[in-house]
């Protein structure tokens, strides 16, 4: 019963996110206030349905609803949307279409890995584990969110450079430049804003990720008598952590800005994705306990 309801709400959320993505895309093109509002409203409705789905999933399984890849992905999608709605108010709304697209992909990928609700193996039934996974998913959501402004930054830089190039090369180029500034490019936030937003998000996500790693080590200590065993998931979460630390360093000590910083953020994001999916699906370790 509860599982049926959870699935129903899951698909309702998926649908709402899809519509929200369309509304945000439309808003980019039309630059109408109503379209922005519709995107945000649909995302909110989707998030509420999604929250219901997660809660019923927990009831169906009789435990916290984060114990396998499907559940992680569902929760990740939810937290991605929620952190976008909370942190991305106002100026970041222009990446809404991409963020909602990301949420749709996350949910779809999660559904492919669907398993019916069930109990966990004993090693996973731990207080620390609950904290660890929640922080890992929350940290991933915020760090993942920082991917969007950085990616958009790089795309915009590329488009602008091409447009500028066009001005030099031929007469048609001028048209592109002017047209873009008035159209799509004008609707998008300035590069500087995107750059700063990505940094602000990493600054929020990094401590959460740090905490997750520490809680995970405490859990490993509780379950196996060792904090750290270099299993692939542990290794990759450390790699990801080092990359985001490198990003923060590059910005604060080396003064990296713009393209270079954004590119480093892309690398860190790739590592985050790898930690999240590839390690569970391709490489097995103790963490593959959780199954897929």
């Amino acid at each position: 019963m509860a599982e049926g309801l959870s699935s129903l709400l899951f698909f309702a959320a998926l649908g709402a996110y899809l519509l929200s993505m369309l509304a945000y895309s439309l808003a980019l093109g039309l630059r109408k206030g109503a379209a922005w509002g519709a995107g945000r409203g649909l995302a909110l409705v989707g998030a509420l349905a999604h929250l219901g789905s997660v809660v019923f999933r927990g009831l169906a399984a009789g435990r916290v609803p984060w114990g396998n890849m499907y559940e992680y992905s569902s929760l990740l999608g939810l937290l991605l949307v929620v952190s976008f709605l909370v942190l991305g108010r106002g100026s970041l709304k222009s990446v809404g279409a991409f963020v909602m697209g990301g949420a749709v992909l996350t949910l779809a990928a999660g559904r492919i890995l669907y398993v019916p609700p069930g109990p966990l193996v004993p090693a996973l039934a731990s207080y620390w584990l609950k904290v660890h996974v929640l922080a890992a998913v929350g940290g991933s959501a915020v760090l993942g969110l920082s991917f969007f402004p950085s990616a958009l930054f790089l795309v915009l830089e590329w488009v602008r450079r091409r447009a500028r190039h066009g001005v030099l090369v031929g007469a048609g180029g001028a048209g592109i430049e002017a047209g873009d500034e008035g159209g799509l490019l004008g609707a998008l936030p300035s590069s500087e804003l995107l750059d700063r937003a990505a940094l602000a998000l990493v600054k929020i996500g990094f401590p959460i990720w740090t905490f997750s790693i520490l809680a995970g080590a405490l859990w490993a200590e509780e379950a196996w008598g060792r904090y750290w065993g270099w299993d692939p998931k542990e290794t990759w979460s450390l790699v990801t952590w080092l990359l985001y630390a490198a990003y923060l360093h590059a910005r604060s000590s080396r003064g990296w800005r713009g393209t270079r910083a954004a590119a480093l953020n892309m690398v860190a994001f790739a590592s985050l994705l790898f930690t999240y999916y590839a390690v569970n699906l391709w490489i097995s370790g103790l963490h593959s306990y959780a199954g897929v």
Binding site: P119, K203, T210, F211, G225, R226, T235, A250, R254, I283
Partner: protein, 467 residues
């Protein structure tokens, strides 16, 4: 930063190649599949990345550079704490600069600047014609705490490794186990471990596994009596619920079947007692070996298979249906000849070079069976529990530094260092007030603007210079 990236890519390699420490069998398989490549990879340490010299060299360099930048930063920080903020040095234009004429006298303007900045939490110093203010020391303090804790955390791991030990012991239900080196089935002692085991006694009362209806295990628990320094207590060790005794933590690690097997010839009992079997997780069939050097006229060895819940499946044969001991039976093959015990060998396998098969048989629980003059009885089925025992003197420190590091990280990331200078000078017979500040984000600029507005009046401050 380069080192951070290097260490990261090094560590990631460790997840692409099978690691000896995690899965030695996979490394052997890799050698078989890539016989030409594997030795080179091995020479580079790719099968043991986290033990390889280059990995620890990068880690060490990172540690040294961390230390190398921490000490000067700490010194600079302490100096900055002691010194009062000074006037702005001449140089390039500051990131924030607002100037305007003032109707009030210089002393009054500077008094007011001091009050405004103090109210906003700045440390303020006043000189001849200027006020300098600074806040956000918590950022540097937090950052320092974070980096120092990171270093100390790694130090705690090393300390725990070097001065502690990790071991495993399989104990059959009803048996007593004394904490001493010889009684461990596996032990890894740290380089500086004193070699003094705390010498407690564990008596395993019983071990139980409970299952979900789906057949998935729900919980493993070992009921133990602990005798330590003359005191006894009853405890239960479960997954995620370790026992702590005399500085050693005892974890539930694994478990298996230990059927009691008695081997006799005529009236002579040659072997008797529980035998530790190893269960194949895929089939649920457990396998064990009994060696009987005292048999006549030749030595005999038994290779045994335990099926806790045997079932005949059409077209397949005998399989094990569940981990529950419904009708346990032992299948065995008897070997006769020379066991080859003059060289050390595993207790879990027979060295068959000097042996030949002498007959097969099976025994249900409580029964016995005679094959080639050797009687095999199976009076009881016990379980054994595998406990992992670790001593890690770095544990408390690791926890402490982890918490300190986290506590330092937050102000290190979020507190911003802000400096403001106010100067009053005379120009063309009028008083000119200049408010300058260090670079900062939007919120810092907002604050600077308010400070300036408090001194110059709101309308002047909309125009801000950028350097």
């Amino acid at each position: 930063m380069v080192l951070l990236l290097l260490l990261g890519s090094g560590a990631s390699l460790g997840s692409f190649f099978p690691q000896r420490s995690l899965n030695p069998a996979a490394v052997d398989a890799y050698f078989l599949r890539h016989p030409a490549l594997a030795p080179y990879l091995d020479a580079l340490g790719l099968f043991d990345v986290f033990g390889a010299w280059w990995f620890w060299t990068i880690a060490l360099l990172l540690g040294i550079s961390l230390m190398g930048c921490l000490l000067p930063r700490l010194r600079a920080y302490l100096r900055a704490l002691k010194h009062r903020p000074g006037p702005r040095e001449a140089g390039p234009l500051p990131a924030f600069l607002v100037t305007g004429p003032s109707g009030a006298a210089p002393g009054e303007v500077l008094d007011r600047a001091g009050r405004i900045l103090t109210r906003r939490g700045y440390r303020v110093a006043r000189g001849d014609g200027w006020v300098a203010a600074e806040k956000g020391f918590l950022r540097e303090a937090g950052s320092l705490l974070f980096h120092a804790s990171l270093l100390a955390l790694v130090g705690s791991f090393v300390l725990g490794r070097a001065w502690g030990f990790q071991g495993q012991a399989a104990i059959v239900e009803g048996d007593e186990w004394q904490d001493a080196r010889v009684n461990y089935d596996f032990i890894r002692e740290g380089r500086f471990f004193s070699g003094r085991f705390p010498d407690f006694l564990l008596k395993v009362e019983d071990f139980t596994v409970t299952y979900h209806p789906s057949g998935l295990p729900e919980d493993f628990r070992t009921r133990l009596e602990v005798v330590e320094g003359g005191r006894r207590r009853e405890v239960v060790v479960r997954v995620n619920h370790p026992l702590e005794v005399a500085g050693v933590k005892v974890y539930q690690a694994s478990y298996g079947w230990a059927p009691v097997i008695r081997v006799s010839q005529g009236e002579r009992v040659l072997a008797g007692g529980p035998v530790v079997f190893i269960t194949d997780p895929r089939t649920g069939v457990a396998r064990g070996v009994v060696k009987v050097p005292g048999a006549r006229p030749e030595q005999v060895g038994l290779e045994l298979f335990l099926l806790p819940d045997p079932q005949v499946v059409e077209g397949v044969g005998l399989v094990n249906a569940s981990p529950l001991p419904e009708h346990p039976i032992l299948l065995f093959r008897l070997y006769a000849g020379d066991l080859g015990l003059n060289v050390p060998q595993s207790v879990f396998s027979l060295d068959k070079r000097g042996l030949r098969p002498a007959g097969d048989g099976f025994v249900p629980l409580g029964g016995e069976k005679e094959v080639a003059g050797v009687r095999v009885a199976f009076p009881e089925l016990k379980e054994y529990t595998v406990l992992a025992l670790t001593r890690d003197p770095g544990r408390k420190w690791a926890l402490l530094f982890a918490l300190l590091g986290l506590a330092g990280l937050l102000p290190g990331l979020y507190v911003a260092r802000r400096r403001v200078w106010v100067r009053v000078s005379e120009r063309d017979g009028a008083w000119l007030v200049e408010v300058a500040a260090s670079p900062g984000g939007e919120r810092a600029e907002e604050e600077y603007r308010r400070v300036a507005a408090g001194l110059l009046g709101a309308e002047k401050v909309a125009v801000s210079g950028r350097g």
